[in-house]
Structure formats: C-alpha cells, structure tokens
Amino acid sequence: MRLLALASRNLKEIYRDPLALGFLLGFPLVFMLLFGAIFSGDTLPEFTVGVIDEDNTMMSQAFVDQALPMVPVLEIATYDDTGTALKDLKFGELKAYIVIPPGFGQQVSSNWQGTKADILLQMTYDESDVMISEQLITIINDVTLAFARVEMPVTVDAKPIHVENQIDYIDFIGPGIIIFGLLILIPTSARTIVRDKEKGMLSRLLTTPTHPLDFILGYSLSNVAITIAQIIIFIFGAWAMGMDIIGNLGLAFLVFFLTGLCSIGIGMVIASLSRSENQAEPLAWLFAMPLAMLSGCWFSIEMMPSYIRTVAYAFPYAHAIDASRGILIRGVGLEAVGADFLFLAGWAVAIFAIGVVLFRRSMRS
C-alpha cells in the first residue's frame, strides 16, 4: 500500500511533466527519425565495393553473386587482382574492396554444419570517410554473419544461398537508438530521486512510517513503468521506420527491459551520491553520453580500439546492443545471446544492490 502510494505519486510527477516525458520518449525518436531519414528513401547511397575472390569455391561465388548484392546500398564490382582494386580505391571509384581469402568456403561450410569456425575476410577501405567505412564494415560483417549463419540454429539446408535478411541502415541503427533511449533513463532516474531529496520531499516522507525499501521500490517501480512504455514506443517507432524484426520480440523486450533496470540502478547510485539536481544532472549525463558513444549506439563498436571496447563491455549497453541486434536483425535465440543476457541480469542485480546500500546511507542524518 505504502509502496503503491509512493510509486503512483512518482509516476504522476513524471508523466505530468510534459517536458521531461517528451524528452524521455521524443529525444530518441528524433534520433531515430534523423538517422532513418539520412540513410533511407530514394537517395539511398550506393557504395561501390570491389571483390576479389581468391577462394573461388561455390561458396565464395554464392557469397559474391547472391549474398552481397542483396544489400541495397552495395554495388559490387569484381576484380581479379588487388592491384587494380587498390588503384580504383585510390581514385575514389571504390569505397572499399574485399578479398575473400582461400579457405572462406571451408569456413562457411563448417559453420553451416555447426562447427564454429572463424571467417576471415580482408577489407581495405578508404580511411578518409570514417562514417561510410565504418558502416561498410558493419554491413559486410552482418551480411557475412547472416550468410555463414553464425549464431543461427543449424539447419541442413540444401540450397546454399539463403540470406535471411536484407540489412539496411535502420536495421543497424534501430537497436542502438533504442538502447540510447534507455541510457537517458539514467538522468531521469537520478533526477526524480534527487529532486525529492533537494526539495525536502524525502525528509517529509521520512517523518511518515515509510521504510527505506519502500522508497527504493517506489522510485524503481515508477521508472519501470516508464521503461516499459519507452521500449514499446521505441520498438514500434523503429519498426514503423522500417526496422526488420526477425527474431523473438519477447526476448528482445527482455534484453531492453534488463538494460532499463541497469539505467534505473545507475540513476539511483548517482542520486545517492549527489546533494542536488545541479550535481546529479551533469553527473548523469557525463555517464550516459560517453557510454552511448562507447557502446555503439550510433557507430559500430568494431572499429574502436580494443581498450575502449574493453571499457564498453564492462557496462551493460554494448552487450545489450549486441544481443538486441542479434535477436532483431539476425533472428538468433537465447542460445546465442545467453551470455549477454546473464551479464545484463547480473549487472542489474549488482547495481541495484549498490544503489540500495548507498541510498540508505544517504538518508541517514
């Protein structure tokens, strides 16, 4: 009863604040629209990518002739030797060229048969255009993964070519933006708590028989409601903008939900360490923005130096992006994202535990 009274009050405080709510829901949608608009429609960019097939197996030919051309933004040009390709790359005729080394067919086949094997592709790209080369890497990566059915259940399919999905930019950016939306829950969660602390509401409520756990759950519950609304709206928004949803939506929801819980927990920790909104707000953003960058909300994380990736993978968001991309775009199941899943759940539990301890400590006088 106490808990519900508090949670419903907190929820009202949030949803009756159009600015805060609009920010929470609208900001990521604007991003999504922006990215969607930039990389969509008639003005779809065409990247000419050279391919040198040194493997020359049926598998590699299928990859070149059928898998790669299915990506709408790619224009494939085949080359016989790297020398010519390099020349064209330098003259700007090509954005990149891929060398399919000998053994590619072998590697793909073993993946199809369920034996994990690393797939090697060599890609040389025009460094001067970071955005495009980065996207290209991601796209090629995704196509190859889909082609090789990495992380997909093994099916003995006689037909060699069956690319599940045409990956375009919104598919790639969709999950990232959804995670970004969940990242900006950190400032929101911190703000709701620290505002009550600063304005004296917490003190007022502390003169009532409210237990510390009531407070914590009361704040969390209201933020959980916001999170659920966010996830639904974001998934729908991304879908409306053309993001494919191949895998299990429920599983994707769960990944997003755990991510949201982590954000709420981080917000609680920040609120416990701050005395005022003026302290908590920048602190929360200082956390959320770099994390969004590092975790690959907007740009592929593959390109980043390994130490940055190590940092990124210490937090839930890079895992969440990997997992949700796997589920949504490539249609993988729990067996493929189980590790990410466990990491997210563990993180959520840990940060809540820390939050509870710190919050209780900060209430003492």
């Binding site: 009050r9 405080e13 003190s203 007022r204």
Partner: protein, 312 residues
C-alpha cells in the same frame, strides 16, 4: 534531568544536537502533556527546527533522547512516525499532484482507508478554503495556499501528536487568523508542538510557552506566568504637554529610569506608583493627557532574559 514518564505526550531528556562545533540544541528537557498546545518561541537559529526534526526522527540527537507518547525516538522510530504529523518549516509538497492527491499520499502511507481518506481530505480542504481548487496541480497554487496545504498534510491521518514548524510563515493576517482558529479547534483533541517567532502567535495559541535561545530553553510557563512572574520591571507610559527638565528631574529622584521622547514619558522600575507619578508631574506643572501601565509582552520577557530583541 528527569526520568521517563509515559503519561506525557512529548518528553525530551537532555536532548542535544551538535553540527560540528556548533551546538544547535543544548540539553533540552521538555515535558508536554497530552492535549497540550506547547509553543517554542525563539529567534532565528535558536534551535527550534533542529528540536522538531529530532522529535520526528529526521535527525539523530548527538546527546540525550526523547519520547513521544512513551515511544523512544531512537529505539522505536517507526512507532513514533506512526502517531505523529509534521508540517515542516519549508513548504514541501508534491508539485505536480493536486491538493487532494497530496493529502492522499500521506494518508495512504499511514494506511488510512479510501473512504475515510476522501471525507477527511474534503473536510480539511474546505476548512482551509482550498475546496474549490482541489483538482489543481499544487504548483499553480499561491504561496499562502501551499502553506495551508502544508499544514493539513500533517493532519490528514489524524495523528496523536502534531508538530507545526512555523505554521503561519508567510501568510497574510487573514489567513493567519484562520489557521489560528483552526489550531484552537484542534487543541482539545491533539497534542500540538508548534514553533514560532511571533510573540502574538505564541501568546494567542499556546497553553504553555518555552522560550528558546541558543539551543536552550531559557524560560518556561504560561504566557501569564512568563509576563508576570519573570518580568522584574513595570513600565508606565505618559502622554503630556510641556514636559520640562525640572519635571523630569523631579521624577528621576524617585525613578531613575525615565526617558522623554517628544510628548511621551516612559518610566520603568521594579514597582511603580501610578498615583504618585501623576502627582509628581502635576506638582511640576505638567498637564498629563493620558497615562497607562504598559501591558508586558513576551518580547519584554525575552529582552530581559537574553538581553536581545526577539525580532527585527
């Protein structure tokens, strides 16, 4: 130091609080009976709010303890929180809730049933003249309206002991009067501890007054007791024409403290002979228009005890 007494509504036992080196509350012993309205009167920084905050378990004492209806604030804080209602000095409300929702928040936390809550909040809002605005978000209220809501937030769950920290802060005289009248009505049913730095408020409302200064209770009693037993001097104010030096000298032979400003002569001493003074002036040829013994105020009491003005 006194010993615990369960018949008292509020009992502080050598209650103290330091903030670093600053002693905000310095060993206070108060005994407030059930149903009593007790006022803590004191200037800014006297330690009133600190005392209240300790009594409602917001702030841990650094020395001593207190008991509310027999429950120790340190050992049974949740027992205490169950039976108290607090109106803090700073107005604190949930800004995006309407006034009824604010009341219901506190009510529900205290486990008041839905129907009772509804009738009580309607009643309280009506008493405070907020009935018409019950559905408006509180952030749209004026300061005085918020203040009134702030007070009834302390009463919604029908607590046994009510703490009102400067209840009429920032209210216009009319609203102040209304709140006073409401508090007077409550007086019979509840134990109320209020703080104020308005003498007239303490004077009008309180059964007993504790004058607080620099963390200590420096005087304690009913308004009447404080004024009549504690004040060592009486003051007489005389309006007269042509107050000559000679006349003043004559008065000063008997009463050393005699001051003139314009047509007003103020004389104070331990004991004043009304007839005698008027007679003396008469003899000196002064035409006395009016003369009266000044009603002693709590201000005078405060001034005498601490050597300071209470306000301004």
């Amino acid at each position: 130091m006194t010993s615990p007494n369960d018949d008292l509504a509020v009992q502080t036992l050598n209650l103290a609080r330091k903030f670093g080196d600053l002693v905000a509350v310095d060993g206070v012993d108060l005994n407030i009976k059930q149903g009593e309205l007790f006022a803590l009167l004191g200037p800014n920084g006297a330690g009133k709010t600190t005392t209240i905050n300790m009594l409602c378990c917001l702030l841990k004492p650094t020395g001593g303890t207190a008991r509310i209806m027999g429950h120790d604030i340190l050992k049974q804080p949740y027992r205490v929180k169950d039976i108290i209602g607090v109106s803090p000095q700073e107005t604190v409300l949930s800004e995006r809730l309407n006034s009824r929702e604010n009341l219901e928040l506190i009510g529900r936390i205290h486990g008041v049933g839905a129907t009772e809550l509804k009738t009580r909040s309607q009643e309280l809002l009506a008493t405070m003249g907020l009935g018409a605005r019950a559905k408006d978000q509180v952030r749209k209220f004026s300061g005085g309206m918020k203040r009134r809501l702030n007070i009834i937030m302390a009463l919604i769950h029908d607590p046994q002991v009510v703490f009102l920290d400067e209840p009429t802060l920032g209210l216009d005289p009319q609203a102040r009067r209304a709140i006073w009248e409401y508090i007077i009505r409550l007086k019979k049913e509840k134990t109320i501890l209020l703080t104020t730095h308005y003498m007239d408020e303490a004077d009008f409302l309180a059964d007993r007054i504790g004058i607080m200064d620099e963390g200590k209770i420096v005087a304690l009693g009913t308004s009447h007791e404080l004024k009549n037993n504690l004040l060592e001097k009486q003051t007489m104010v005389i309006q007269a024409q042509d107050i000559t030096e000679a006349a003043i000298e004559k008065v000063r032979t008997k009463y050393a403290e005699a001051e003139v400003t314009g047509d007003t002569l103020v004389i104070s001493d331990k004991q004043l002979g009304f007839q005698e003074i008027v007679g003396l002036l008469h003899q000196a040829g002064v035409a006395v228009r009016s003369a009266y013994m000044k009603e002693p105020t709590l201000e005078d009491v405060f001034l005498q005890i601490t050597g300071k003005e209470l306000r301004e």
